[in-house]
Symmetry: C2
């Protein structure tokens, strides 16, 4: 048997996601209300609204973000081999995004896109309780073409990880469908995160079909997304229902920890204690990073959940959705 | 008597400085050596070297910077009325800089500059001891023209604050000379920070002449800059020498606190205790902010120094040279 020909041998996780730079500033609850934002949510904004909100925002910092990209940053910090596919524009924020993901040790070969629109950014208002309210201008990110994919590379990765947010725009959705086919044809696993209620409201039928037809191997959701997906209020009933056709289902429940079912086995992890919640941006993304790291390293289900909880706790302790601490060292200290 | 005609009535401090976005990442001492950087220093870099260093840098965050701009951010946070003059390009980092300074409540009316070069950035490598090693690509910042000044606005500010770094490029130097004349003609005070040894090495004669001819009312330096300026190794001899022609001289001495002489009166403040030094970027800038705030609010010399020490300690406790804490509340708690 010949070696598969690929520029990325032995990729643990390849992800397709939004290529976004986060623009983050603290604000108070009154400001959230005054600006007409839905606290804790993610709203897609057009350039005019993005401009209006940026004008109203306090002094900010820019840190690379994007849900799946954050997950890869965590995975790479833990020691996994990763590759990212996402669309930036040929501008300074695009350079920032590309630098940060590559500097994290993640392969990133998607060509930047000339002309308008600009690289995606997410205006994130962080309240004193650590809650983040996100306003995303998708920009170039929504124009990721299927042609940006290299099926050989996708076939060479153990897990293909897809971000639900990116299911909304048409071109990336086509690209993701093609990627799912490429991964499945190669006998690889497909992991999917539901991302947000609005995506489920718009594309729930797509997701339910993918799940029913056995195209998803690992599903990440929080409890609200699970309820929206299944239409079932009771958490345990909902997760059992999804687990009938999805081999691994992982559901996060904020301060109540997380629950998973893998091939009939149940496991639960409490939330890690956190001295001071600074900014919850990226908590779900880093939970997925920890869990997937355990998964590709063949850890027990309970250990996978614990890895997720430790990584989520790290990201909540500071501004930004990219890890600051040495995650590998942190995990070594907390697990075993 | 008619009101002076100005768009900025009652400005406490107007500053002219570099308009820079800081690009910051942690690194270890071996990396500093490997990249051939002088630890703790500031080096001007050309685009090729900036590219090389950025390629070598880890995942970073972008936070607005610039020495005098940082000082104004601190002053504005304390409650002072401020205005900034500095040159950005018409690009995304220029928008970031302009947003952040205006969002801090600082008037900023300098038109952005079309075409190359890009907005200035400073690649800052932060070692585990909190020391910062800076590599500045000056970009558009060095093309601030004298025509960008509005003499009426300068004449309306109590204090004109100038950053020594900006004395190096020719156009801003001309602009600053004109600003000094405008301020002095209006009977205003001129404050100057020496910024860095390399500036003194190149322009020390200019500075000594400005000082000897009584054109500087308030001089900020650290002890190394003072020695470079005066050629005198002994700290006390050096500060006394400068104080002969400069009414207020303020010298910071890192962990040894700071010393000032104002019209013959001496005062000293120890460094504020800091639980954990994260990043020293902006410590001098924020010391100047606290001191100048006390100065324009007619506080005692000892109080001015204490204000400087409290603001410097805040900035050292986190990444970035713009304040994160509520400086006004912090100062109210620490002083009286």
């Amino acid at each position: 048997m010949s070696e598969p020909s690929t520029a990325h041998p032995e990729i643990d996780v390849i992800a397709i996601g939004n290529a976004i730079v986060d623009v983050m500033a603290p604000c108070d609850d009154a400001e959230i209300a005054r600006l007409g934002m839905a606290k804790g949510g993610m709203t897609l904004v057009d350039p005019a609204r993005a401009h209006e909100l940026y004008e109203a925002m306090g002094p900010a910092r820019e840190i690379s973000g994007g849900s799946a990209a954050n997950t890869l940053a965590g995975l790479a910090a833990l020691g996994a081999q990763c590759a990212f596919i996402g669309q930036v524009a040929q501008d300074q924020l695009g350079e920032v995004f590309a630098h940060d993901i590559r500097a994290g040790g993640i392969a990133f070969d998607t060509s930047s896109r000339a002309g308008d629109p600009a690289t995606a950014r997410c205006l994130i208002f962080v309240t004193p309780d650590g809650q983040r309210t996100m306003n995303t201008f998708l920009g170039a990110s929504q124009f990721l073409p299927a042609a940006a994919l290299d099926d050989t590379v996708i076939a060479s990765a153990r897990v293909l990880y897809l971000e639900g947010y990116l299911w909304d725009p048409e071109e990336p959705r086509k690209a993701m469908r093609r990627a799912i086919a490429a991964a499945r044809n190669a006998g690889r696993q497909v992991a999917f995160t539901l991302s947000d209620g609005f995506v489920i409201a718009r594309h729930g039928d797509d997701f339910r079909e993918l799940i029913a037809t056995g195209q998803i191997d690992i599903l990440f959701a929080n409890e609200h997304e699970l309820a929206a997906l299944t239409g079932v209020e009771d958490f345990h009933t909902g997760i059992e229902q999804v687990a009938r056709t999805v081999p691994t289902v992982v559901v996060t429940r904020s301060e109540n920890g997380a629950h998973a079912i893998r091939n009939g086995e149940h496991a639960h992890v409490p939330a890690e204690p956190i001295a001071h919640v600074v900014d919850t941006t990226g908590a779900g993304d880093l939970f997925a990073a920890g869990f997937l790291f355990g998964h590709v390293r063949h850890r027990t289900l309970a250990e996978c959940l614990k890895l997720g909880a430790v990584c989520a706790a790290e990201i909540i302790s500071h501004y930004g959705a990219r890890p600051e601490a040495d995650l590998a060292a942190l995990v070594a200290e907390k697990i075993r």
